[in-house]
Amino acid sequence: MNARIIISVIIMGLGLTAAMLPNRKNDSIALNERELLQEMLLETNYLSTDEVAELLIAGDPSIQLIDVRPASEFKDPLPRAINIPLDSIFSDNYAFVFDQLVVKNVIYGSDDVRAAQVWMITKQKGYKNNYLMKGGLNAWKATILDPKLPPITASQSEFDLYSKRMASRQFFTGAKALPQVNVQPIVPVQGRKKKRVQGGCS
C-alpha cells in the first residue's frame, strides 16, 4: 500500500511539472552558424546570369524564379517569375514555396541585397532547394540584355561567351540579329621562309 502511494505521488508530481513546461518548438532541421557558413561558401548554391539564361532557354521545368523586389517595383520580371517581397516570405500564400523538395527556387532582386537576405533566411531555417542568381537584374541587363563586345585582345572563349549572350538577348528581347562578329584570334606573325636560290651559279 505504501509503495503505491509513493509511486502515485511521484507520478502526479512529474505530471504537474510537465504541465508547467512551456511549449517549446524545436527546430531540428535548422542550421547552426557553422553549417550556415559552409553553405554560404559553397559555390553550387549560386547561379550566374549565364546559367539562368541557359536554363530558361532550354525551358527547364524544374526551376522557379522568385523576384524579391517590393510589389511596387515589380516591373519587367524575368520570364515566369513570381513576386515574393521580403516582408511576405512567411505569409500563408507562400508557405509552400520555400519549404519543398520538388522545384528549385532561384532567388533574384534588382541587386544582391534583398536576394541575399531572403536566401540567408530560408537557408538558415533548413529549407532545401533555394539558390541565388548573382548580380540580380542589374547583372542580367549588363550581361544578357546588353552584352559588351570584348576588346580585340580577348581570348576565343570570351568571344564565344559574347556570341552566346547575343543569342540569349535575341531570345529574351526578340531583337533582330546583329551582324555576325567574325573576329579571328590574332596569330603571331610567322617569318618569311627563305626561298631556295634557283639558277645562278651551281
Binding site: 535548422a30 542550421l31 547552426n32 552558424e33 557553422r34 550556415l36 557558413l37 554560404m40 561558401l41 549560386y46 521580403l86 516582408d87 516570405i89 512567411f90 541587386d111 544582391d112 541585397v113 536576394a115 541575399a116 537576405q117 536566401w119 540567408m120 533566411i121 530560408t122 538558415q124 531555417k125 541565388l132 548573382k134 563586345l149 576588346p151 580585340i152 551582324p179 562578329v181 567574325n182 573576329v183 579571328q184 596569330v187 606573325v189 610567322q190 617569318g191 618569311r192 621562309k193
Partner: protein, 158 residues
C-alpha cells in the same frame, strides 16, 4: 521473470542516458535570432552606407572579407582582413563584440550581405556594409569599334 527486470531496466536506463549525454554535447546553435526576427531586422535596419556616411561614423573599422591572397594583392588602407571562411573563429570574437562600428567592404555584394546577416543573427551589433568604389570601366577608343568585319590573318609563307 522478476530477475529479468533488473538487467532490462539497466539496459533501458543506460540507453536513455547515452541519448541524453550525446544530445547534451552536440553542436548547439548559438544563433540569437530566429528566421522571422531576422526578416524583421533585415527590413528595418538600414545597414548599407555610402562613402560619406562611413566617414560620418565614429571610429569605424573597415573589414575586408576576401581571402588573404586577394587582400595581399591589393587592399584599401586600414582595412582589416578577416577571410569569410574563418569569420566564426575564436580570435575574431572580441573584435566583433567591441562597440566600435564595423564596416564590411562589398567586393562581392552577395558575400558581404550574407556576412552581415550571419553576424547579426549571432547577436553582434554595429555592423554595416558599404559599396566599393569600382574603377571606371575603360572606354573603348572609337577606331577599335569599327573593326568588326572579317579580318585577314597575317600568315607567313608564300
Amino acid at each position: 521473470m522478476k530477475s529479468a527486470i533488473r538487467p532490462l531496466g539497466i539496459i533501458t536506463i543506460s540507453l536513455f542516458g547515452f541519448l541524453a549525454i550525446v544530445s547534451f554535447y552536440t553542436d548547439k546553435s548559438k544563433l540569437e535570432y530566429s528566421g522571422r526576427e531576422m526578416q524583421e531586422k533585415a527590413l528595418s535596419t538600414k545597414y548599407l552606407l555610402s562613402e560619406e556616411e562611413v566617414h560620418g561614423l565614429k571610429n569605424p573599422q573597415i573589414v575586408d572579407i576576401r581571402d588573404s591572397k586577394n587582400y595581399r594583392l591589393e587592399h584599401e588602407d586600414d582595412a582589416l582582413n578577416i577571410p569569410l571562411s574563418v569569420i566564426l573563429d575564436e580570435e575574431y570574437k572580441n573584435f566583433f563584440e567591441s562597440s566600435d562600428p564595423k564596416v564590411i567592404l562589398a567586393y562581392d555584394p552577395v558575400k558581404a550581405n550574407e556576412a552581415w546577416m550571419l553576424m547579426t543573427q549571432l547577436g553582434y551589433e554595429n555592423l554595416y556594409v558599404t559599396n566599393i568604389k569600382q574603377p571606371e570601366p575603360v572606354e573603348e577608343p572609337e577606331e577599335m569599334k569599327e573593326r568588326t568585319g572579317p579580318r585577314k590573318v597575317i600568315s607567313g609563307g608564300h
